[in-house]
């Protein structure tokens, strides 16, 4: 059975190879519809560590894969916003009242009123940073190395091919059984991808 860490990583799309360095089975499907149905069937069969790859977003795929709504990004955004708000307040106060106080037309060195635009802008900026960073983190990106790159056919995932990858770290993974399931679902081509640089048909 996969450990908790492995499950968490799998939710980010990062799968670990098993003891024999098997990364998983990569199945190619002829069209987006077939991939969508295959993803649904694989999930209903009890698999959790799997991912799909297609050259464009497929409507309904998140539901078919059981991904649910991306709740996490909002917390990163909110955290970024609060950080920006506080940082701008401190910036305004420290620069204007502590480090370099200048008397401008008798106004207080530091006041909330003229600081609000800065606080607003940095809230928006940091919230946007938080949203982008959170999105990347929750997607397990950037990932310069992925054993799927060993498959020559997989290059087509950014062109005109549709792939389903069932990871070896899934508790239910079995080379023969899983391959048979994928075959039944209409896979056009199945290969076993290993972490050591080989991909066997």
């Amino acid at each position: 059975m996969p450990t908790l860490i492995q499950n968490l990583k799998a939710r980010l799309g990062i799968f670990e190879s098993d003891a024999d360095q098997v990364y998983g089975l990569l199945a190619e499907f002829p069209d987006p519809g077939a991939l969508l149905h295959a993803a649904e069937a694989v999930r209903e069969d009890g698999y959790r560590h799997f991912d799909t790859h297609s050259p464009f977003p497929i409507h309904g795929m998140d539901e078919a894969m059981g991904l649910g709504n991306a709740v996490g990004v909002g917390f990163f955004t909110f955290g970024g916003g609060v950080t920006g708000f506080a940082a701008a307040y401190l910036l305004q106060w420290w620069t204007a009242a502590v480090d370099y106080p200048i008397n401008i037309s008798g106004k207080p060195f530091f006041a909330v009123e003229p600081s609000v635009p800065i606080m607003f802008e940095l809230t928006v900026l940091f919230a946007a940073f938080g949203a982008v960073a959170g999105m990347l983190a929750l997607n397990g990106l950037p990932r310069p190395y992925n054993p799927l790159f060993y498959s020559d056919r997989f290059r087509g995932a950014s062109d005109d091919r549709f792939f389903l990858h069932v990871a070896a770290s899934d508790g239910q993974f079995d080379v023969e059984d899983t391959a048979a399931l994928l075959q039944r679902l209409g896979a056009r081509h199945i290969e076993l991808v290993k972490d050591d640089g080989s991909a066997d048909v």
């Binding site: 909002g74 106004k107 009123e113 003229p114 609000v116």
Partner: protein, 420 residues
Amino acid sequence: MADEINRSSFLKWLVDPIESTNDVAKRAYRFVGNRRVWLVPLALGIALLTVSALGLVQSPEDFFFAYLAGWSFLLTTALGGLFFLIFNHITRASWSVVVNRINETLVWAFPLLLVLGVPLLFGMHDLYHWTHEALYDPSSPQYDEVLAGKRAYLNVPFWSVRIIVYFAAWTLLSYRLYTFSLRQDVDPDPELQKKLRSTSAWGLPLLAVTTAFASYDILMSTDPHWFSTIFGVYFFAGGTLCAVAVISLVTLLLQRTGGLLQNVVTPEHYHDLGKYLFGFVIFWAYIAFSQYMLYWYGGIPEETVWFQHRLRGGWAWHSAVLVLFHFLVPFLILLPQITKRSTVVMSIMSVWIIGMHWFDLHWIVLPVIRDGGGFHWLDITCWLGLTGIFAGALMYRLGRHPLVPQNHPYLGESLQFENM
């Protein structure tokens, strides 16, 4: 004919210019509740206004200012609804079609509001300092050079003409948008849809200019020395926010207590109404703060005096409440997705925002006569009394027509609408 003009009496026309079209309503969109339920808010409203009339004898000044705050609350809300309807037509919004009829019933309000505004004419002397003749007489000790300079604009005849022009424009616009849409229920003529859009197109700039000037004439001139060029936008922001809250609240009431519009208005639509509430809470705060910050920075006495009144004594608490409960708390509550999709939260937030919009207008109007902040009982009775009559008329219209523009070309799209 179902869509004939209601000629039976002026009062009826005032409340609903079109005969009932319920007989053509499709089953799912028909109002099947108690048709007399509109009498309840109407009776409550009349009762509260009668009580307020006692206050008129006791303290006329308090009465007129309280009445002005309550009346402006309804006026801004109706104007906000008109803006909302117009920009949904112009942008060919499809999501909002299921709540369009509720908005249209809100928008046919201007003739009634004009009649409800008549008592204010008797309080002109109390409400508008610039109506005092002595201000313009150089030999009088009350002679006011500043107001004498503004006299070409701020004088009773020109003011009256302007108010009539505003109401004529708003009545014309709302009449066209209301009646074309009701005709469409009976006759799915595509020409009607074009007319709705073209009216909205020329109506938008007309509405923008008249709304801005109305805000100067009706509210800003209660403190005639003070001026703010952003005041019209502030007036618009609060009104549109309140109008969206009213649309949400009426829809929720129809669904939860009347069992109507089931599976017509879904959490997807509440989600979008919630986004509008959220957006306009921020927009209101943005405009309110812009007005405040520039005057704070300028520090010129004739500009800051208005805020001085509102930041001293008891009014400082009102200002703090506005920042917290008109902006910060609704902002944080409406920020997550889940709250906008929850009918319970949306009900609470709609009532909350409607209340805060009145609080905002109370904060604009009442400091002119009162130093210490707080409330007079007339503030509440005038507001709720007028709102009762307004709500009764709204419910009366709602019960007489299909609850959804049933032949609108985008209705199908609206019913299928999904955010995600």
